[in-house]
Amino acid sequence: MNLKQIREFIIEKAIFLCGLVSIIGIILIFVFLIKEGGSFFLKESLRDFLLGIHWYPTSTPAKFGILPLILGSLLVTGAAISIAVPLGVAGAIFIAEIAKGSLKEFLKSSVELIQAIPSVVLGFLGAKALGGYVMDWFNLSSGLTAFTAALLLAFMALPTIISVMEDAITAVPKRYRESALAMGSTKWQAIYRVVLPAAASGMAAAIMLGIGRAIGETMVVAMASGNAAIIPGFPSGILGPVKTLTATIATETAEASGRHIQSLFAIAIALFLITLGVNVSADFLVHKKKVK
């Protein structure tokens, strides 16, 4: 082997290694979550953990039931998604099919700008300013509620939803629209009857990714949701404080020790598995065989 071949060989292996980093990373994350949190399940039953209704990690005896946290996450995420999806669908259709020229560019960069706002800034403004409005609107004693966090999360999920949906809509072949228009449909009829059905699986994926983003978001809920680990009532719970899975980890880890910290890693394992499931199924939807 001459020098050139050796160099080529080394570079090829190095590049191969880089290719493997993402797998190594995801495995390492999982292994270390298990390493720190797995021993929690040696003493606690999975059932008591997932279905226990009391999260009293520091009292004696400590209780580690994460049902209030799961419900808190579901409530905030569900509310956020029901606000973000209609806005996102309308925005995506408008940007992809109707807006032109500088208006389109302007809207696209505005959506991108949302992504650049750090979540801790949104959390802070949400807790300080938005919380005040929510308190006044609904005549509450505190503005730090599931609803406040949901409004902020909806805003944060919008860029993901809009950009993935826009891609899905734009990817529908041009001839679909042309055929519909040639048959005398209006532009809206073409969008509604032809383009949107063809883009449906990609749009569903966009919603899934938005859900994944909302479940995993941490700082906004840690700062604006009130952080009370209680089972939220329905529907009144939306205007009360809740505590989510992510916020629990963020607010408690620094002071936790012993079994408490193990339980927080156990929550992280649950979160890891939930978001993994959501994201892999979203990817499956994106790459699902398109209509022939």
């Binding site: 160099r7 080529e8 290719g19 990373g25 991108e112 300013a129 941490t218 890891f272 993994l276």
Partner: protein, 286 residues
């Protein structure tokens, strides 16, 4: 009576337009409020002094910490992400391993930021013994934005026309020479744009380095790893001052000032990407 579809269309397009404008309301709200309360806080001392007790003084160590973190994150994530993208675009074949790598990337992209925080702390800080250092922070953030870098780089590399490679190979260049001289130069601006956008986001992240960044330091880091590598970061400092609000903060508007500086910094980091991209759209060569 049948409604004229042209009228329906006008009505629907009008509604879609107004809904799209609603998206702009929160953005303007965030910018206006931060400017309103934050601008008065910012002066030279605020930007160049160390913080004192109760969130008084300046935020210099936090600004410096965030900038150093960003540099570290670029240094780590760009070569690895680019390497992974080259592997996927140029070397890999459609087999099981490639599928697994793809799933790995998607999964990494979906891991919640706070889970990165727990992982970074238990792996880099405790297991590898890096202490709460810049290195531990930069590595955690790098892993988090790796999917963004890989995806952006792949898109840019895949956009380089196939005949560029064929010409280079037919002239006797090796595969690596082809990639190095005929592919990467043409994909470079796309790669940089995507990477910078990802890093701008990393600069504003709090949760991944929640357990790594120090809440309050007077000194700036003296090394990359170990105790001397301890650092403050702007987002995390904003979070710790949030806890002080209403208690005993010297100036209650300080958090707004931090938020404003943080957003400006993120904007300055992403600005090159925006410029490169605008240029790129103008002068596509093929």
């Amino acid at each position: 009576m049948r409604i004229n579809p042209r009228h329906t269309e006008k009505f629907i397009f009008g509604s879609l337009f107004s809904v799209s404008l609603i998206i702009l309301v929160p953005i303007s709200w965030v910018l206006l409020i931060t400017l309103k309360y934050g601008l008065s806080v910012i002066n030279l001392d605020f930007l160049t002094k160390s913080p004192t007790f109760n969130a008084g003084g300046g935020i210099y160590p936090a600004i410096l910490g965030t900038i150093l973190l960003v540099i570290g994150t670029i240094v780590v994530s760009l070569p690895i992400g680019l390497g992974a993208a080259i592997y996927l675009s140029e070397y890999s074949s459609k087999n099981l391993l490639t599928r697994i790598i793809r799933i790995g990337i998607i999964s990494l992209a979906g891991v919640p930021s706070i889970v990165y925080g727990l992982f970074g702390f238990s792996f880099f800080v405790l297991f590898l013994g890096f202490d709460k250092s810049l290195l531990a922070g930069a590595l955690t953030l790098s892993l988090m934005i790796l999917p963004v870098v890989i995806t952006a780089s792949r898109e840019a590399i895949d956009a380089v026309p196939e005949h560029f490679r064929e010409v280079s190979l037919s002239l006797g260049a090796t595969k690596w020479q082809t990639i190095r001289h005929a592919v990467i130069p043409h994909a470079l601006s796309g790669i940089l744009t995507g990477t910078i956008l990802g890093i701008g986001r990393a600069a504003g992240e709090t949760a991944p380095i929640l357990l790594i960044a120090s809440a309050w330091l007077v000194n700036t880091p003296t090394s990359v790893v170990g105790r001397g590598g301890r650092f403050m970061a702007l987002p995390n400092y904003l979070y710790s001052t949030y806890a002080l609000v209403g208690k005993s903060m010297e100036n209650p508007n300080t958090p707004y000032g931090i938020a404003l500086v943080l957003m400006l910094l993120v904007f300055l980091i992403t600005l090159p990407a925006i410029i490169i991209r605008a240029k790129l759209r103008k002068e596509r060569k093929w």
